[in-house]
Every structure is written in C-alpha cells, then in structure tokens.
C-alpha cells in the first residue's frame, strides 16, 4: 500500500473496572489491547471477531468517541490521538459512523430532515436553504423519497431507517466511514440492498470503510482486506481472498469453518471450537486463544505470540506460534 488515509498504531483502550466498597479501579478491561492497522483511500477493511472482542470499541476510538488509553491514530497525515475538540473539528467531519441499530442512533422525536442535517448544523455549514437542498440530495443518494423529510424514523422499515443513518453519515462528505454492523439487524432481502448501496457510494465518492460484522460471507463480499480480532488483539489480517483461501490462525480457521453454507448438498461435519470467549478482564496467559485452540502446544500458555508475516504474501499477517 502506498498511501494511508488512516494509520492506527498500537492502540489500547483499557476500561477501569470498579470493584469493592471504595470503587477503586483495581482491574482493567483491556477491550482493545495493542491494535495497529492501515486503511487506504477507497479501501474497505473488514473487521470480524466474536461478540465482545473489542470491535465497536476500536471503531469508537478511531472516531474519538472514546479517548484511547495509549497508542496513536493518524488521519490524513495528522496525529489526531490527543487533539482537543476544536482542533479535531475539521478532521472529525471526514470520519463518520453508521451504527448497528438505526432505531437507537436516530432520535425518534426529530424529523428525518432534522436528523440528516444535524451534522451540517454542528459543523456550521451552509444556511437554511442550502442545507435543505443538501438533505434532498442525500435522500436521493440513499434512495429515499423527498417527502421523507418531514416524517419520523418510526414511520420507516428497518432497512429504510438504516438508509437514513447512512444519509446522515454522508452529509459532510466524509473520507472514512466506520460501519458498525450496519446490516446485522436486517433481513436478507434488505441486507443486500444496503450492501449494494454502500459499494456504489464507495465507488462514486472514493470512500474508505472500516466494516465491522460477524457474518463472514458479508464481510468477504465488501472487503478488500480483512482483520480478525480476538480478545482485543488482531490475530490475523490480509487480503480478503488470501484470508479465505489460506487462513493460518486456528481461530480464523474455526470462524471460516463455522459459516453456514446455503447449500444443502454441502452438509459438512464441522470442526467446532468449544468454550466461550474468555473475559477481557482476566485474559488467559500466553496466547489468549490457547484454552480453546485445537492446536495449542505447551509454550502457548506461556509465550505471547506476535503479528508476523510468515507467508509468501507479505501483507498476510499472523500471530500464532505454529508459524515459527
């Protein structure tokens, strides 16, 4: 990759866990624990991993909804990790977020028109008339009728509400959109409409996406590269095709094996990893995947593996002792 739009280095987000009668933080929830990633202009990076592994937290750090504990975020060649809200403002309009549950993220007492122009008002862009024009433009882009302007979110279906969220995210012509499970709550038939829309918008406006999801078929469809996260860390990443064809990390392999295939002739006996995701408050020693890993060796419970490029495709990174 020649140029990066977003460069994240060794990012950490440790939430204090308050315990006991003095409510002193004696432990930390290491939700994101040393993540590095790059996203190029016009590129989609898919981010997958089990519930609770830190995907949303990572997204929220990048949009600076959370102040990360350590590490750096560089956006358009500027380190934005510690910018105050005024200094951040010009960059923030270029990073937007689409949320999993449109009903939660859209204020139900505001009209669709108000919701979509809110970012314009916050950023002090345009006057009343030009904002109204922009709202109509955005509704048209996401395929909603102009008369939606005066209506309320609850009058729309799930898929249409998600389009409202997308219209709002696009209002400021962002460069990067963090899509946090934008289709997980939707029906298959609506899901494909939204995916088509996101791909079209990307091609038209050269958008970059960080696309968070747990449906791997969806992620593969939309992503150029994929990163797999486990307990706050990236355990494998690489080009989308390479990951699906040549996954190396046992966790990635088990994720791919667990995808239900919509073809009854391929009822396969799957290899299923057992056990639940361990707590990020007391993560296992060594490789944090070792209690569930079918290939775990004795050193796995002691030595922490690091992301490395053991393959001929040097952009393919794996963090596992099996690679040594």
């Amino acid at each position: 990759m020649s140029e990066s739009l977003l460069k994240v280095r060794d990012l950490k987000m440790h939430f204090p866990v308050k315990e006991g009668i003095f409510l002193r933080a004696s432990k930390f929830n290491k939700a994101v624990d040393g993540v590095s990633l790059d996203i190029a202009p016009g590129e989609t990076l898919g981010l997958v991993g089990e519930s609770g592994c830190g995907k949303s937290t990572l997204g929220r750090c990048i949009t600076r909804l959370y102040q990360p504990t350590a590490g750096s975020i560089e956006f358009r060649d500027q380190d934005i990790t510690h910018l105050g809200s005024n200094a951040l403002k010009p960059q923030r309009q270029h990073i937007q977020m689409i949320f999993q549950d449109p009903m939660e993220s859209l204020n139900s007492r505001h009209t669709v028109g108000d919701i979509i122009q809110e970012p314009l008002i916050v950023q002090n862009i345009g006057d009343r008339a030009s904002r109204a024009k922009r709202v109509l433009e955005l509704l048209n882009i996401v395929g909603l009728p102009a008369r939606s302007v005066t209506r309320y979110p609850f009058e729309f279906s799930g898929g249409q509400r998600q389009r409202i969220g997308i219209a709002r995210a696009l209002a400021l012509n962002p460069k990067l959109v963090i899509c946090d499970e934008p289709v997980s709550a939707l029906d298959v038939s609506i899901q494909s409409q939204i995916l088509n829309l996101l791909i079209e918008l990307q091609q038209e406006f050269n958008l970059s996406y960080l696309f968070i999801a747990h449906d791997l078929a969806v992620v593969k469809h939309i992503s150029d590269r994929i990163a797999i996260m486990y307990l706050g860390k990236i355990v494998e990443s690489g080009r989308s095709e390479e990951i699906y064809r040549n996954a190396q990390h046992p966790y990635t392999q088990s994720l791919i094996a667990a995808i239900p295939v919509p073809d009854p002739h391929r009822k396969v006996q799957r290899q299923i990893i057992s056990g639940d995701v361990p707590s990020p408050i007391a993560p296992p020693s060594g490789c944090t995947f070792h209690p569930r890993c079918p290939s775990a060796m004795s050193r796995c419970s002691q030595d922490i593996p690091h992301l490395d490029s053991p393959m001929t495709d040097k952009s393919h990174l794996v963090s596992c002792h099996l690679m040594d």
């Binding site: 799930g158 899901q191 939309i222 009854p264 056990g275 995701v277």
Partner: protein, 325 residues
C-alpha cells in the same frame, strides 16, 4: 418417509388492534415429520413467530386468537384442548425456545431452580432426583462445571451459555417436538455453530422432531430436512430442502436465494435484491400478496389469490406462473 407428528391445517390467527382485526397468518398448512427438522423461513413480520405461538397456544391474550383451522399433534387437535390439558403438553411433549433467551429466563431465580421447576412440574421426581437430573441436562448441553452453574443467576452467564440453558430447560422432559424460534440470531458464528450442532446431536439421540424458525438460509440448508417459506402471513412454498434450494418455484423464494452473498460471489459485485416492501396486514391486496414486488407478475395475479399447487410429490407452491418460470 416417516409419519407426521404435527399437522397444521388451514390455520388462521387474528389480532384485535386499535385499527381493526389483523389476520397475522392466513390458511397456513404444513406437517412436521417424526424425527425430522422442519425449517420455517420468511421476511421479518411474515408470521413465523405467530405460527409457533399458535401451535403452543401462547398467543398474547386477549388480543390474539386462532379463528380457524386445526393443529393435530399425535392425533389430538391442540386448538380444541382445554387449557389445563395444553399446559401438560407444553414443556413435556412440546417445548419452545424463544427468540430472545433473556425473556425466557427469570433473572431473580438461579439456573438450577428454573430447570428443577420444570422437572418437578412434569415428572414424579423428588427434589433430590430433580437436582441430579438438572445437573445431567446442563452437562448434556455443554455447560462446563454444571454443579456450580446450578447456583448462578442468568446475568452471570454469557449469551451463548444462556441460550444453552434455555435449550436445557426446553429439553428437560425429553419432548417429542422442539420449536426453536431464531435460537441463534443473537449469537455469533462460533456459538451459533455450537448450538446448532447440539440440537442436531440431541435430535439423533432422542429422536425428537424440530421446527426451526430463522431467516438465515445457510442455517436452513445445513440443518433442515423440509422447509416452509412464508410471505405476508401465507405459505408460498414448501418442500424438501433440496427442492427449495435446487429448484425454487416461487418468485419470492428465488429472490431470497439470489440475494444472499455467498463465499463464492464475486467481491463487490452487485447483489440481486427484491425491490419494494411487504404490504401491511391492514391493506393486503386481493390477489397474490407478492404481486407488488414480483418480477413475473401479470394482470391476472391481482385478481385472485393463487392456490397451493403440486410441483412434485414433495414440493408445493402457491403461484399462478410457476410453470412458466
């Protein structure tokens, strides 16, 4: 072929609402065969959960009622049973796993208490025997250290473990029919795979029938023998899982199958979509309910509702034009 354990025929369920009576399911018929898994698929709001609740006689009261049809289970019409009889069947002969595990568990009671309650209600166990049996069942659904978990509360368990506890409760009395309403939708792929594998395993061990409600076609393909496709309160197609995936006859089923991204679709290629929206239950069209979205509709489709026709011995469809497609 095995015989029908449950036969739903011409079932109609209606709700009283402020805006009038809505018919949530209309003339629904299908059979669940002994020892098999029947899948029910369809868009959100098409009546899958209402169908399940009607079979269980658990419709919200007083708004919901079955107004026509029958539900034959082991030769008895469940719609006509006195409630006390129905209560005996529920949990013992037919069990249900609900869409959201947290609603099925009582947050203030321990896991152990919730399982033993079911056992004591339906079996002649002493308290001691019920506890032993409960530990066994938790172990069977793959809960580690079941004796410790017995004393814990739902909030102390992860989502996947909670769903396994709900399944454990549903299976406590070895039912002959399990109705699972989206048992894995809230879970991620690895936990989903565990739960589906568990249901399959228990099914072959205990010989029970399963009705699996989901909108995930991958899950259907992997676990079901037969499939019912619903649209706007009606059954539009049913058949063996091979009929449905290899030779879908209804335009809606075809649209669904075409719209899912698969691992082998070309990245970023345009996915096909079903345009338009499901009609509301209060303004259903006279003719075919899929007409406003159907790429093959013709004027005659708006006049009358298509009847169910036989495609093959195992395969039925409700569309005027299935033979032309």
């Amino acid at each position: 072929m095995s015989e029908a354990l449950l036969e739903v025929s011409h079932l109609v369920t209606e709700f009283d609402t402020d805006e009038g009576v809505v018919r949530a399911i209309d003339d629904v018929s299908f059979a669940a065969l002994a020892g098999e898994t029947l899948g029910i698929v369809g868009e959100s709001g098409c009546g899958k959960s209402v169908t399940a609740l009607s079979i269980m006689r658990l419709l919200p009261q007083p708004m919901g009622k079955i107004t026509d049809g029958e539900v034959l289970f082991k030769g008895r019409d469940l719609t006509q049973l006195p409630l006390t009889e129905m209560q005996k069947i529920r949990g013992a002969d037919i069990s249900m796993v609900f869409q959201e595990p947290m609603t099925a568990l009582n947050p203030v009671h321990t896991i152990g208490r919730q399982i033993t309650e079911v056992l004591l209600l339906h079996r002649n166990y002493t308290a001691q025997e019920a506890i032993q049996e409960a530990v066994k069942i938790l172990d069977r659904v793959g809960i580690p250290s079941p004796d410790i978990r017995m004393g814990e509360y739902p909030h102390q368990l992860s989502g996947g473990m909670r769903q396994r506890v709900v399944i454990a409760i549903a299976l406590a009395c070895n039912p002959s029919l399990l109705i699972a309403d989206e048992p894995t939708t809230a879970l991620d792929v690895t936990i989903q795979a565990q739960i589906l594998e568990l249901i399959k395993e228990l099914q072959s061990d205990l010989g029970m029938s399963v009705i699996l409600i989901t909108h995930d076609l991958g899950v259907i393909a992997e676990t079901c023998d037969h499939v019912v496709v619903m649209y706007a309160g009606k059954v539009v197609e049913k058949g063996s899982v091979y009929d449905l995936f290899d030779n879908p006859a209804h335009p809606y089923t075809r649209g669904l199958l075409a719209s899912i991204p698969r691992l082998d679709t070309i990245p970023k290629a345009k996915l096909s979509v079903i345009d338009g929206m499901v009609p509301g239950l209060l303004d259903l069209p006279q003719g075919c309910r899929f007409e406003n979205r159907c790429p093959h509709s013709q004027p005659s489709c708006t006049h009358a509702s298509p009847l169910i026709e036989q495609v093959s011995t195992s395969h039925e469809v409700s569309c005027f034009r299935w033979q032309d497609l």
